[in-house]
């Protein structure tokens, strides 16, 4: 029961309180580019969730069971990024072969995800937070993906409405999106202090 408690707290902490987009500034580039429509946003979010859960768990395993045992922490960054790139390639090949319809809907997002700061950022935060158990790492990675999906869907919903509003010409596109993101991050600050 205690383990479940810790896992749940960890999950909520990553989704709401330490949301990757609004508090840690990760994943902004695809966030700005893809959040135009809700269906695209949701697709991107799901792809990111899938990849980030896989990479987070894999990199945690490699970090704890290989790098730290052998004292090779200095190669951490190189290993992480290679694992992530490899994982994305594998996921892409696997999906193209076995789930072609799914692959078509994820489409162009998958190669983009490798340079998504959110993935590498989460793997690094897992080491920073000193996560000790594999299950905790997996749950937090999944939570990060869900948090990202939530952020991007909220933004997509707002942007769809913004299209109908009278935004000044100089602010259209990226600027108004950033300002909206700022207001959203202010709203999410309300969650801080939820977990003691």
């Amino acid at each position: 029961m205690d383990t479940l408690n810790i896992l749940l707290m960890g999950f909520i902490s990553v989704v709401l309180i330490n949301n990757l987009v609004f508090t840690k500034f990760l994943g902004i580039c695809p966030y700005l580019g893809v959040s135009g429509r809700i269906d695209m946003a949701f697709g991107m979010g799901m792809a990111v969730t899938f990849v980030v859960t896989l990479s987070g768990t894999l990199t945690w395993m490699i970090d704890h069971w290989v790098l730290m045992k052998l004292g090779l922490e200095v190669t951490r960054y190189v290993c992480f990024i290679l694992v992530i790139a490899g994982a994305v390639q594998l996921v892409e090949m696997y999906m193209r072969k076995f789930f072609p319809s799914l692959y078509d809907s994820f489409g162009i997002f998958l190669p983009l995800i490798t340079t998504n700061c959110a993935i590498l950022g989460l793997c690094l935060f897992l080491t920073l937070w000193g996560i000790e158990s594999l299950l905790d790492a997996a749950v937090r990675s999944f939570g990060a993906g869900i948090g990202f999906t939530m952020a991007i869907c909220i933004m997509a919903g707002i942007r769809e409405n913004l299209n109908l509003a009278d935004v000044p010409a100089c602010l259209q596109g990226a600027p108004i999106t950033l300002i909206t993101a700022g207001l959203l991050s202010l709203a999410f600050m309300g969650f801080a202090g939820m977990i003691r």
């Binding site: 205690d2 810790i6 309180i17 330490n18 200095v74 190669t75 190189v78 801080a192 202090g193 977990i195």
Partner: protein, 210 residues
């Protein structure tokens, strides 16, 4: 054989580059890691030195001190003995951490030689709200710990911050952060004191002057 040849033909650059880059990283790491280690030691010395001005060097304790963390697990705490130039013990210091308003708060706490009064604390890392919870790094809050009894501390919302006792006045607008630090310091100080008394490192009544 031709498959291997094809493989090598496609990726020889990758393999060579990996070797070269690996070498580069290894050399840089070997060259810089003593300096990096020294930086870590310097930082602790600087922070604790500000709290215990007579300390000249810090010696880690041989015996392991284990306390029960908030989650119920036992964790090892590194306690350092601060020694003056003549080798006399002038105090103790250790790292303490716990959850604050936003993220984890990491402190380094120093106590006097008899483990009776807190010499003070410094914030190693925290992510508290700038302007509010961030003020745990400020003098108003930290000065209240200098000389406070090494035991359970209590947070109060109004009081005299200049009066040194076990009551700590909270920072206006940052109750959660203030409470977090009070809890972290109280918890670690009481637990470590108990463990060290059990191991005979500090006496209950007399004091060992070494």
């Amino acid at each position: 054989m031709s498959k291997i040849k094809q493989f090598v033909q496609q990726s020889w650059l990758l393999i060579v580059a990996s070797f070269f880059f690996g070498l580069l990283i290894a050399v840089t790491d070997a060259g810089l890691s003593p300096r990096i280690e020294q930086n870590k030691v310097n930082k602790r010395n600087r922070l604790v030195g500000a709290l215990l001005p007579e300390a000249r060097n810090f010696v880690a304790l041989d015996t392991e001190i284990q306390i029960e963390s908030a989650g119920g697990k036992t964790e090892k705490v590194e306690v350092f003995k601060a020694q003056s130039e003549s080798g006399q013990c002038v105090g103790w210091s250790f790292n303490a951490s716990g959850s604050g308003f936003a993220d984890k708060i990491e402190l380094v706490v120093a106590v006097d030689a008899k483990f009776e009064k807190i010499a003070g604390f410094a914030v190693l890392s925290s992510n508290e709200t700038p302007g509010f919870g961030d003020q745990i790094k400020g003098d108003y809050y930290r000065s209240q710990y200098k000389g406070a009894p090494a035991g359970e501390l209590k947070l109060v919302s109004i009081g005299d911050p200049k009066q040194i006792d076990s009551k700590i006045v909270a920072i206006t607008g940052a109750t959660v952060s203030s409470e977090a630090v009070v809890e972290i310091v109280s918890y670690f100080v009481t637990q470590i004191k108990e463990q060290m008394q059990k191991k005979g490192i500090i006496g209950n009544v007399q004091q060992q002057a070494s």
